[in-house]
């Protein structure tokens, strides 16, 4: 970590939160539809992990707007996707849960809980085979750690010594179900212990997340096999925009928000990195402007053409073979 990077992470966190609030607003105005899973409260985790895993492939869950933006996808292209526009990163076909950008080695979200994990394992196999050991990072929630896909992946990645970073975002809830009601313990890293080294980190602390993911990636690059990192986080909103969040008490929400990751990073920048308050203010302003531009871009962008319905199912070569 250095000051410039800390500023960048701060900027992206602020940008991420502003983006999510804008998405919420435009959902409520009817310009966005379907599911909308906001990452508010979890920005330290999403931004710092992606920044730390600078090289290498990333697979994620559906709660991935901020991850996509941190990876470098234009906020406009993400917002346009949420609006279902042809300029969206997936041309309006994928929607919020499917933001894919191959040029940035980002393979998007997956709307099947845990479904992206076996894919990430396979990609890690390819990278090992190709001798490209930057490796792969796969992001998933605590809820995914109860499913077969996750467990099979721990075992295979370990048996094959794959360059894979399992990154668990443990916000303690899968929709309305608290993790401790359906798993025997709170920290899911325990599940990975038989297979690989595990790290625990405070997911509300960007600096800590950055350091742990950086370290984990460097271990992966040495070829000893996979690593598991669990970050405890807290989402401020309901599971998706249609979830009233009534299963968490006011007290629980208050405690949760006291650990605000953006406030924390700001304090750190001011106190440890001696950042100028004006600089931070200008970053915050730039973030808001960027989001406003993203919304304007999304608003002005055209709908996909009707013929888009039948494109992108098969690739060109095959189309030739088939027709």
């Amino acid at each position: 970590m250095n000051k410039l990077l800390a500023e960048d992470i701060y900027y992206l966190m602020v940008l991420g939160r502003a983006f999510e609030y804008a998405a919420k607003e435009h959902y409520l105005q009817g310009e966005i539809s379907g599911f909308l899973h906001l990452d508010i409260g979890q920005e330290a985790f999403s931004v710092a992990a992606v920044k730390a895993f600078a090289k290498g492939d990333i697979f994620s869950t559906y709660r991935e707007h901020v991850i996509a933006i941190a990876r470098g996808i234009e906020p406009g292209a993400v917002m346009a996707e949420l609006f279902g526009k042809s300029t969206g990163i997936s041309k309006g076909k994928g929607g919020s849960m499917h933001l894919t950008d191959l040029s940035r080695f980002f393979y998007g979200g997956d709307a099947i809980v845990g479904g992206q994990i076996p894919t990430a394992v396979g990609c890690a196999y390819a990278r090992k085979y190709q001798g490209r050991e930057d490796g792969v990072m796969v992001v998933f929630g605590d809820g995914a750690t109860n499913g077969g896909a996750f467990f099979e992946s721990l075992n295979i990645a370990s048996a094959q010594k794959l360059p894979l970073l399992f990154l668990c975002e443990n916000n303690q809830y899968a929709i309305g179900t608290k993790i401790t009601r359906v798993a025997p313990f709170l920290h899911q890293a325990k599940k990975a212990e038989p297979y690989m080294p595990v790290y625990e980190v405070d997911g509300m602390d960007a600096t800590a997340v950055y350091a742990v993911v950086k370290e984990a990636q460097s271990r992966i690059q040495q070829g000893h096999g996979p690593i598991f990192v669990e970050a405890m986080t807290c989402r401020y909103e309901g599971h998706s925009i249609s979830d009233a969040n009534s299963y968490r008490s006011a007290q629980e929400m208050k405690l949760c928000k006291e650990k605000d990751p953006i406030e924390r990073m700001k304090k750190e920048l001011l106190e440890s990195w001696m950042a100028e308050p004006q600089l931070l203010a200008s970053l915050e302003k730039r973030a808001q402007e960027t989001v406003d531009q993203a919304v304007a871009f999304a608003t002005q962008s055209p709908e996909p053409k009707p013929e888009e319905l039948y494109t992108d199912i098969f690739c060109k070569e095959c189309a030739n073979v088939v027709s």
Binding site: G34, F35, G92, K93, G143, I175, G176, E303
Partner: protein
Amino acid sequence: MLYREALNRAIDEVMASDESVVVLGEDVGLYGGSYRVTEGLVAKYGEERLIDTPIAELSIVGNAMGMAIGGLRPVAEIMTANFSLLAFDQIINHLAKFRYMSAGKTAIPVVVRFPQGVSRQLAAQHSESYEQMLSAVPGLMVLAVNDVNYAYHALKKAILMDDPVIFIEHELLYNKEGEVDFDADLDPFKARIAKTGEKITIVSYLKMVDDVMEALPEIEEKLNCSCEVIDLCSLNPIDHDTLAESLKKTGRLVVVEEDHKTGGYGTQIVSWAAEELFYALDAPPLRIAGEDVPIPYNRTLELASIPTPDKIAERVIRWGKNNGL
């Protein structure tokens, strides 16, 4: 009463009268179900009988089967049809076959419920329909009910039956209004004649029945004829008698479904009619179904991918005119 309230009521009544009935699934308990079908039940019956499961669909169905073997009468909820694929091994290799492989030694009183279909921009991994696959599995019965009254009675009977039933719902039906006649005695395996008519038999099920009914006035007006609309209710077994009777009268068959055209469930109906009632048909059957694409997120494309009342009317009218109506 809303469709989801009718389902809730059905489960509630059966739970009240039979302690062996339990419900399991993701967020079915404290949360009340993601489509609120099980709302309020945990307060009445406790967490032991409304079992919140982890996100592990294979286990949800596998556990349900084990509960049934152990003497319970589980109602398993899968949050959305697409996730049921994770449980296909347990549904098809186990639920459907266990009784046969053990030569009839055990009953498997399991209901597996899930909503399916295109709702509103939930995209490719949350919008599919699997009745085609599941109705082709010997050992399973498949119900897919459009009507609120039928939904109440069918679910109640399904839970009390001793064999595995796949009970398919549609996300857009949950808030449908309808009256429930609690004293009725309905056979969930008989098709419902949603409207009688003389010249065309339109067969449909689940949400599409409503779209057909919406398209009907225009169709009847433009073709100047009356149509019979059959709501299948049970997709396996099929009430072929009701279908045959109608087709012998009308001589014309239209099947409307939301599933993809290629290989969709409607092929069964058309294929059966072609084999068994060939000489009764006065015109080529017409299938109206979804396009052969993963469901896109964008609303315009999404609507373009499935039948709508407008499209149904337009296609039936065109077909009718080309075939002597």
